[in-house]
């Protein structure tokens, strides 16, 4: 994870477009300016970044199911729970399931676990629209390859 660049997902470990599920590894960095303020002398991964991590993981799933033809933008977070503190150096596994692929929107249920224990969960909704420009689409494709989104998911790309 590179928190200051909002790069929350390190590597996709499992992505099944047919089952509409995804898993990803996310290693919380030992050092980040984020921890200087959250909190001084007691560094914790902010809850909003746990939510962002789940949203990005679900977003990669939606992108992959749609073969990178359209872009999901976060519109809603429901029933978010941060169950445990997450500290620098901790390994997280993010998982998401696409529960509904609507017309122009998508809904996923996502979790973060660490050492087999659930540390966060949320239902996340996206508005799914055409890419606003080619720069973003190219960047998303480049990042997707870096984090190991399976090649089979790039059919339309």
């Amino acid at each position: 994870m590179r928190l200051e660049y909002f790069q929350m997902v390190d590597r996709i470990t499992n992505l099944d477009p047919a089952a509409r599920t995804i898993r990803a590894d996310c290693l919380v960095p030992d050092d980040s300016p984020v921890f200087e303020g959250h909190f001084p002398g007691y560094p914790l991964l902010p809850g909003v970044l746990m939510i962002e991590t789940m949203a990005q993981t679900g977003g990669w799933l939606v992108l992959s199911v749609l073969r990178f033809a359209r872009m999901p933008f976060l519109t809603q977070v429901r029933e978010a729970k941060m169950r445990s503190f997450v500290v620098p150096g901790q390994t997280l596994e993010a998982a998401a399931k696409l529960v509904h692929d609507g017309s122009g929107y998508a809904v996923v249920e996502a979790t973060l676990t660490s050492g087999g224990k659930k540390v966060a969960e949320a239902e996340i909704r996206y508005r799914v629209v055409p890419f606003p420009n080619e720069t973003l689409r190219a960047q998303m494709l480049e990042t997707a390859r870096r984090i190991a989104v399976p090649e089979a998911c790039f059919d339309a790309a």
Binding site: T75, Q76, H100, D101, G102, S103, G104, Y105, R125, R127
Partner: protein, 92 residues
């Protein structure tokens, strides 16, 4: 429960609108004031309740292109007729 009763209940619950103010002649946007984000919640609840996928993007495009009036899709009586057609198409 009729399609309209189900849809009206969804709108009342999702958008915090008094159930009694929702009629088959109500326009979801112009009369009930449902904004686009809330309408996505309504759409998700309708999709789930009826096991369908309302083609909102297609409907919106048709309205924006001037092919049809928004009344055709967003007046609730008409919306319910379209839902019934989608359910019928699904069940064959």
């Amino acid at each position: 429960m009729s399609t309209f009763e189900t849809v009206a209940g969804i709108i009342a619950d999702t958008c915090d609108i008094e159930r009694d103010t929702i009629t088959p002649d109500s326009h979801a946007i112009n009369d009930l004031g449902i904004d686009s984000l809330d309408f996505l919640d309504v759409a998700f609840a309708i999709d789930k309740a009826f096991g369908i996928k309302m083609p909102l993007e297609q409907w919106t495009q048709e309205v924006n292109d001037g092919k049809v009036s928004s009344d055709q899709y967003f007046v609730l009586g008409n919306l319910c007729e379209n839902i019934d057609k989608l359910v019928a198409a699904k069940t064959g």
